[in-house]
């Protein structure tokens, strides 16, 4: 397991978030070490995706602290937040590709706005990234013309476009067949090894999470019930943890 310190890329303390009367996160504390891949497990609706959206500043916490690469996310203005966001790649559950742009244009989209690359350089970079995820043959296709698994690959290429220090994955293997899910899992491992990126992966699929994760946390009702390597989780005496691992396996 990687060394966890207060200078780690992601440090979360006593995080609370509610939507109306519904309490989604209830005092979450979490530190993700540099280069570590953390899998956040839990049932649907336990606040896993909300946690990712809070990390990247898409939502504001009710209270608590989220420090990403040393910056307190909730206290940043839009300009400051965007500076941090340029260092974060995000793969959405639905891939969230821009449906009016081709596969290549999707990957080049952040490059056109945040780099001084020429159009030719952007194209080359996009092709290089798409080649890394095995999508070099579908450059001119629209997102609606490719499968869900392929969309996830393109989403991953787009998330890597600005060479992020942190990658956040929201259910990267949900809705995919086991082979495609394993391929996406392997891609995450590959990128981790190549680029030493810190990653947080929200998932409820333990099988694919075991491929890429160094550490696991299990959430339920807005709280972290277990935190550690997979074998440590298996030894947990908590009934929910034991039930979840058994059912999910």
């Amino acid at each position: 397991m990687k060394k966890v310190t207060q200078e780690s890329p992601i440090v979360i303390e006593d995080l609370h978030k509610s939507f109306g009367a519904q309490r989604v996160l209830n005092g979450i504390g979490l530190v993700v070490a540099s280069g570590e891949t953390l899998a956040v497990l839990g049932r649907s609706g336990t606040g896993k995706s909300v946690l990712l959206k809070l990390i990247v500043g898409l939502q504001k916490p009710d209270s608590g602290s989220i420090r990403v690469l040393g910056d307190e996310i909730a206290k940043l203005d839009l300009e400051g937040l965007n500076q941090v966001r340029k260092k974060i790649g995000f793969l959405f559950q639905s891939a969230a590709l821009y449906d009016s742009l081709t596969v290549e244009e999707n990957v080049a989209f952040p490059l056109a706005r945040h780099t001084k690359m020429s159009e030719a350089e952007r194209k080359n970079r996009a092709r290089e990234l798409l080649s890394a995820v095995g999508m070099e043959r579908d450059l001119e296709k629209l997102p609606s013309e490719i499968s869900g698994g392929m969309q996830k690959r393109v989403g991953l290429a787009r998330a890597l476009a600005l060479d992020p220090e942190i990658l956040l994955f929201d259910e990267p293997t949900a809705g995919l067949d086991p082979i495609t899910a394993a391929e996406i899992g392997n891609l995450i491992v590959e990128q981790k090894e190549k680029r030493n990126i810190t990653s947080v992966v929200v998932t409820h699929e333990i099988r694919s999470a075991r491929i890429f994760a160094d550490r696991f946390v299990l959430m339920n009702e807005g709280k972290i019930l277990a935190d550690g390597a997979f074998d440590e989780l298996r030894k947990s005496r908590n009934k929910f943890v034991a039930d979840f691992l058994r059912e999910a396996a």
């Binding site: 959206k53 898409l58 966001r85 995000f90 959405f92 639905s94 969230a96 952040p110 787009r158 600005l162």
Partner: protein
């Protein structure tokens, strides 16, 4: 006595429910305007502060302008024909048939052309923007844009608002042109008259004050359509059903606000250009 008490408590309950419903409606009414105000401020900031999204703006000018042209031209042409058919009979009765070209042209450039154009664009573009941005919202594309450190207010809303403001006056000119030509054609089919005579006669008393303010007031209609449709689209909630709701509400609200704004602008033009 007991019946009376039940009736009384029932009446009281209904009154209470109605009062709370009215209260909720009033609150949501002011909430909507407040949120629209905040949205407009962010869009205004995005419009005036660089960098600018030129490529997306050109795409929107094409989508909103060029692609609305056939529909607007047809609506303008139909208005010209209807004006010719309707006013011809009335003017003949009052012995003022020679005024027909002037009535058609005045009516088109001062009111019919601008309002017909704005309503047609409200329907086509309002629904399009509401549905497109709504769909982007529910499929997390707008979130993806924010996460990529790209301002969706600048990339999506500001470009659409500017394109609407720029294209409405041009589309109005096209509608006016088609209306005049078809008005002439309809007139000349009933009683032959040359196009040159029709236009010269029609434009004899037209000044720039008759032509420019009504044409440029459509830029305000464009601002309303762009802002309201983008706002409705970007606040979409609730999956595909929500997208449908956004598209419908965008059309309804754009049309309503265009008509209300027209009332104010007509009066304002009368005051400023007497």
């Amino acid at each position: 006595m007991r019946k009376y008490q039940i009736l009384k408590s029932l009446t009281f309950g209904i009154r209470e429910a109605l009062a709370s419903l009215m209260g909720a409606l009033v609150v949501s009414f002011f909430e909507w305007f407040g949120e629209l105000g905040l949205f407009s401020r962010r869009v205004a900031h995005a419009i005036f502060v660089p960098p600018y999204e030129w490529r997306e703006l050109v795409r929107q000018l094409d989508a909103i302008g060029s692609k609305s042209l056939p529909l607007v031209a047809m609506a303008g042409a139909a208005t010209g024909v209807v004006l010719s058919l309707q006013t011809r009979d009335s003017l003949t009765r009052f012995g003022a048939k020679s005024m027909l070209p002037a009535v058609i042209i005045f009516s088109l450039i001062k009111e019919s052309g601008p309002i017909i154009t704005a309503l047609v664009v409200s329907g086509r573009v309002g629904a399009g923007i509401g549905a497109e941005l709504g769909s982007m919202r529910v499929t997390e594309q707008i979130d993806a844009m924010e996460v990529s450190a790209v301002d969706p207010y600048k990339f999506l809303a500001a470009t659409r608002v500017i394109a609407c403001i720029a294209m409405l006056p041009l589309l109005t000119l096209a509608a006016n042109f088609c209306g005049v030509i078809m008005g002439w054609l309809s007139t000349t089919l009933a009683q032959p008259v040359s196009l040159r005579y029709f236009i010269e006669n029609g434009l004899k008393h037209v000044t720039f004050d008759d032509f420019l303010p009504p044409t440029f007031k459509t830029a305000v209609f464009g601002l309303i359509i762009g802002l309201v449709a983008s706002f409705q689209g970007m606040r979409t909630k609730g999956g595909t059903e929500g997208v449908g709701r956004s598209a419908t509400s965008a059309v309804v609200l754009c049309s309503l606000f265009v008509i209300l704004a027209d009332v104010l602008l007509v009066r304002l033009i009368q005051v400023l250009f007497p």
